[in-house]
């Protein structure tokens, strides 16, 4: 998994403390509003997201860019670059 530093995002989904599978459902919604090439940041404290998000990107043709740590250390930050439009 690639570790990123100072990655800029166009939108953020804050899913900290929110129940599984919100870490998949909300990003799926938010990415629809982005343009190809834009970046979505996902904040989550759910360990399973580290597997689920890259797998979701691979399945949906989006680019999983990598991960960084939150300065407060209470969540992961995962980054997705939108490559193609999601089917609604």
């Amino acid at each position: 998994m690639k570790f990123l530093d100072g990655c800029k995002a166009d939108a953020t989904a804050d899913l900290v403390y929110r129940a599984c599978p919100m870490h998949l459902l909300e990003p799926m919604d938010l990415i629809k509003d982005l343009e190809p090439g834009q970046v979505l940041e996902i904040l989550t404290d759910y360990d399973g997201a580290l597997e689920d998000i890259p797998a979701w990107c691979a399945k949906h043709g989006q680019e999983f860019m990598g991960i960084s740590e939150d300065a407060c250390g209470d969540c992961y930050k995962l980054y997705i670059k939108k490559i193609c439009e999601e089917k609604s």
Binding site: D14, Y17, R18, M22
Partner: protein
């Protein structure tokens, strides 16, 4: 027998329009809003429409409303959810006022007992108002949040929430207010109040028991108190109570349309009741703030009697009121709220609270004023404490 029900803070009948709106969602339109097929997605759309109606009543965004089972649950989620989400960053100190509802006080005590939080229970003045300077002095670098109710169901006093919020905002501390007593009674706008979290109860608006809501400002994090799945965007587990949510949405919409007219009407009825009590009953204390109070709320302490005995005498005349909050009243305990505003225990025992609604009429107020003075007089005639007091007064 003529009936005058004036205990609307304890229970309010479901409005006919609300009941009619809810009806299809018990059997015909029963789908689960989380289901992906059309029976579910249609219900999800209905639920989101109701969320919008609740949001509009308080000037919030739709996605800032979480449906709960009650005001008590919303208070639990606000306090425990917020405190547990932030204590690692800030610390373990929490501030509530001493006259909060049990669901606020006991949520704070829960954090104290099981998570080693330190809780400051702020004192109030003789009207039940929190002094902003006192709040400011109570804040510490470890304070995670402050919870002070907007209005008291027991003494009717309204807090100056924007003034208290300003103190907290300057220190970057989130502010929660329990607005169960005020939403639908007085204008409540989350932006004007400046609060970060706000509690709503369905029954207080004419929706059924079993539904409430929590407003939380976008960007806040809450630790769920009911763990489940994706319901309420992963913040509150459990399949949503759709009939209740439709009831709350409908009641919220009606409340918004009727608010100004209702407040004027209730204040007029209340003022007649208060004036009548003042004219006809000696040795009575009016509790709460004389002006900054809920429009349909009149609260008194009658010296020399027990409020519970008065409840029974009045109910025999079809008059229904309360001695304070419904739960405290049943425990036959002297109200801690009255203690906090400095009412002596022997006087606090004679507490009586009338909470009016738009269903009450002037003839009902007259009915109360016809039966309340003789009931007080009768109870005082049995009371050795009252007779002794009168004898002493006559001797002096």
């Amino acid at each position: 027998m003529k009936r005058a029900y004036m205990d609307h803070a304890a229970a309010t009948p479901v409005r006919p329009e609300v009941l009619a709106a809810m009806q299809p969602f018990f059997a015909e339109r029963f789908g689960n809003p989380s289901a992906v097929y059309d029976l579910g997605s249609e219900i999800k759309a209905v639920m989101e429409e109701q969320r919008g109606k609740v949001a509009r009543l308080i000037g919030a965004r739709d996605n800032e409303i979480i449906f709960t089972s009650s005001g008590a649950e919303a208070n639990n989620l606000a306090i425990k959810g917020m405190a547990l989400a932030t204590f690692l960053k800030r610390g373990k100190h929490l501030i509530v006022s001493g006259i909060e509802h049990h669901s606020v006080l006991n949520s704070a005590r829960f954090l104290e007992k099981f998570f080693d939080f330190e809780v400051t229970f702020l004192p109030v003045d003789r009207y039940g108002r929190v002094d902003p300077e006192r709040l400011k002095k109570a804040l510490t670098p470890a304070t995670v949040m402050v919870s002070i109710g907007h209005g008291s169901n027991e003494i009717g006093t309204l807090q100056d929430i924007p003034e208290l919020v300003a103190v907290c905002r300057a220190a970057g501390i989130p502010f929660h207010t329990d607005a169960v007593a005020t939403v639908g009674q007085v204008p409540v706008d989350v932006t004007e109040l400046g609060v970060d979290l706000l509690t709503i109860s369905g029954p207080a608006l004419g929706a059924p028991k079993g539904i409430g809501a929590l407003y939380f400002r976008n960007k806040l994090r809450l630790v769920p108190q009911l763990n489940g799945g994706i319901q309420e965007s992963g913040r509150r587990g459990g399949t949503e109570n759709i009939p209740g949510i439709v009831g709350l949405g409908t009641a919220a919409e009606l409340a918004g349309q009727e608010l100004d007219e209702k407040a004027v009407y209730l204040a007029k009825l209340r003022d007649r009741l208060v004036a009548g009590v003042q004219e006809n009953i000696p040795k009575v204390f009016f509790t709460g703030h004389p002006e900054k109070r809920l429009p349909g709320h009149a609260s008194f302490c009658f010296e020399g009697i027990e409020g519970e005995a008065l409840i029974f005498l009045l109910s025999s005349q079809g008059i229904y009121a309360n001695t304070g909050s419904a739960c405290a009243s049943k425990a036959l305990k002297t109200s801690p709220v009255l203690g906090a505003i400095g009412i002596k225990p022997e006087v606090a025992q004679g507490s009586m609270v009338f909470t009016l609604s738009r269903d009450n009429r002037e003839d009902e107020v007259r009915h109360v004023l016809e039966h309340l003075p003789p009931a007080v007089e009768r109870l005082r005639s049995f009371s050795p404490v009252w007779r002794k007091k009168m004898a002493e007064a006559a001797g002096a």
